[in-house]
């Protein structure tokens, strides 16, 4: 943990070298296609100008989904603006009902947390995150540091925390305080970091503060669902105004102070969860999106296997922090790359995405017992996945980088069991008792979930049958012919 903190310290120091937060006399009005004209206070604009945040302009919010949904070219920076705006709206909604709960410099701390919440993302957002979480220093931090217990699958939150609480970032906060006449002591990097990882020091007293940034229906979710659906063209409705109106804080003795909603707000939350499922089936798990995601990850695998032969922007990715030094552009530019790595990257740039050679699902695998669990849980063991790919590639006489096995993780509806609903009378209930997300999850797994074996188009005929046999041997399952046949059927969404 100490080593990771030192590495983050070096990164922040490098990123902020020579930068002085500009001071603004007036705020700025920024136009956003979702939220309209959004006003940012001068202090907020100073933080937005920070190179750690500006870097997010060069990171796609939805990775290479842009190859499938051409207008989904929005960036993490756009999303950051939306989160800051939603956080301000949530603050105002809480202040209307409980003015005593958010005062002093607290609103600024919350907005800064919103602005910094994604600065720990690597290139292509969640695509690189799938790799980052496997680094020993990250795994150990997430597992052993109690502070990070809420961000198990989201190491970028832990990295954002470490950035926000680094000694090199502290002068930025101090300068903000000095320039805008605020109290230095009352802008706490520790509190900002806690909001980012969704864990306040005394959750029962101040949990509602982190709920705004990292909670069950937080400013982040309210923005990404609207934004991802808007920019992909997938038609969804998130009634943010109504959600804000019904949102409040649980108060009273012996009741943890957390965000909650009225019963009248439930349909809007249901709508959000429904949207989440749609985003998974239509975008995040779209087979073309998954292919592109796998190919991106393979770039870093090639770098690893090449020893010191390959680098991106001078980084060899021996440490997780290396991902923070690079952006999407650094990864996909062929300039400075050579050999197989360069040709692989050029294929991605030309959108020569791999095709499906095998579909793994409940339809295409006859065996439905613990052996199928072993197969679908293979994604939790990258070593095992790699060995599978090596076996298939060896039999197909092609490089291991041409055979990609993908077992995506299904959607979680954790929100339903963590969000409390204020009933007209009687005790509050978790959202999961009001409607049945469990059945949704089962139906998703039953019908929509698919794993794949991908390979270049000209290898599909060869790799499909080989992959089928290898999976049957390795997992003792029966894979049906449909696993290969489904690959050649046109997909309406593609």
């Amino acid at each position: 943990m100490a080593a990771l903190r030192d590495e983050i310290e070096a990164y922040v120091s490098h990123a902020l070298a020579g930068w002085v937060p500009p001071a603004y006399r007036v705020g700025k009005l920024i136009r956003d296609p979702l939220h309209g004209c959004v006003f940012f206070e001068p202090a907020h604009v100073s933080v937005l100008d920070c190179p750690l945040v500006q870097r997010l302009r060069k990171i796609h919010q939805t990775s290479l989904a842009v190859f499938t949904y051409p207008s989904a070219a929005h960036s993490r920076f756009d999303h950051t603006l939306g989160v800051a705006h939603n956080a301000a709206q949530l603050i105002a909604a809480i202040q209307r009902k409980h003015p005593e709960l958010i005062d002093g410099e607290r609103p600024l701390e919350i907005i800064i947390a919103g602005i910094l919440h994604d600065c720990g993302h690597g290139p292509f957002s969640h695509s690189s995150e799938e790799l980052i979480k496997e680094y020993p220093e990250i795994r150990d931090s997430l597992r052993l540091d109690e502070r990070f217990s809420n961000c198990q699958d989201k190491p970028h939150e832990a990295l954002s925390y470490l950035i926000a609480t680094s000694a090199s970032f502290r002068p930025v906060l101090d300068r903000l305080a000095d320039e805008y006449g605020l109290n230095r002591e009352r802008i706490s990097a520790h509190v900002i970091g806690n909001m980012i990882v969704g864990k306040m020091d005394v959750p029962d007293q101040e949990g509602y503060l982190s709920d705004i940034i990292n909670g069950t229906f937080d400013a982040d979710k309210l923005d990404y669902m609207s934004r991802d659906s808007y920019f992909t063209g997938l038609r969804m409705v998130v009634d943010i105004d109504r959600i804000l109106y019904t949102m409040g804080v649980r108060t009273g003795t012996n009741r943890p102070r957390r965000l909650c909603t009225d019963l009248s707000g439930v349909p809007n939350l249901e709508q959000m969860l429904f949207n989440k499922m749609l985003l998974f089936s239509s975008m995040y798990h779209h087979h073309k999106v998954r292919t592109a995601n796998c190919m991106l990850k393979t770039i870093f695998e090639i770098i690893r296997d090449g020893g010191s032969r390959y680098k991106i922007a001078g980084r060899d990715f021996s440490r997780a922090v290396d991902f923070l030094y690079v952006t999407d552009e650094d990864v996909l530019t062929p300039v400075g790359k050579r050999g197989y790595l360069r040709s692989y990257i050029e294929r991605i740039n030309r959108r020569e995405l791999f095709k499906r050679a095998l579909v793994i699902s409940k339809r295409t695998v006859k065996t439905h017992d613990f052996r199928y669990t072993e197969l679908t849980a293979a994604h939790t063991d990258p070593g095992r996945l790699r060995r599978l790919r090596e076996t298939i590639a060896k039999r197909a006489h092609c490089p291991v980088y041409e055979v990609l096995v993908d077992m995506p993780e299904g959607p979680s509806f954790r929100e339903a069991s963590q969000m409390f609903i204020r009933m007209p009378s009687g005790p509050e209930l978790p959202l999961s008792k009001v409607f049945a997300t469990d059945w949704w999850m089962n139906a998703y797994a039953e019908v929509k979930w698919q794993g794949h074996v991908f390979c270049p188009a000209d290898l599909c005929r060869k790799v499909g049958p080989i992959a089928k046999r290898v999976l049957e041997e390795e997992f003792d399952v029966e894979v049906l012919p449909g696993a290969i046949d489904e690959c050649s059927k046109p997909d309406v969404a593609s």
Partner: protein, 139 residues
């Protein structure tokens, strides 16, 4: 880039096998509870055998101790029909059935895979007893 981890290098065992083991060694074929009951019960098991549950992190400061790894493991087991969930009136409180054949299959798998670690299997049997006491067949 770090070398990827393999299941053999884990101190404990992969989450889906651990959860399957606890459920597979139960004497009963069913248990009931809400997400809160089940996560709380497994958080208790982790306190009993921390070295076995190294892959599980239960969040604190939430409404209940929640583990992403546990949710994922349960979901994978349901996905495979190893566990079947059913409920009537209250969607947040379900009964989970692990049919006899599925339990036999789990035990056979684990006993082959971990035949050199009988103590581990013994621990699973004991944890199954504890879990049964936490999540009875009906509420």
């Amino acid at each position: 880039m770090p070398r990827t981890r393999a299941s053999a290098s884990r101190e404990g065992m992969p989450p889906h096998r651990l959860v399957a083991g606890v459920l597979g060694y139960m004497k009963r074929d069913r248990f009931s509870g809400s997400a809160q009951d089940i996560h709380t019960a497994f958080a208790g098991l982790q306190r009993e055998e921390p070295l076995l549950f190294t892959e599980f992190v239960f969040s604190s400061g939430e409404n209940f101790p929640y583990s992403k790894a546990l949710e994922r493991a349960l979901s994978e087991l349901m996905h495979s029909d190893v566990i079947k969930a059913f409920g009537e009136i209250n969607p947040g409180y379900l009964t989970y059935l692990i049919p006899v054949g599925q339990r036999r299959r789990i035990r056979r798998f684990l006993e082959q895979e971990y035949c050199r670690r009988p103590q581990l299997l013994q621990k699973l049997r004991r944890l199954a007893r504890v879990f049964e006491a936490s999540c009875p067949p009906t509420g």
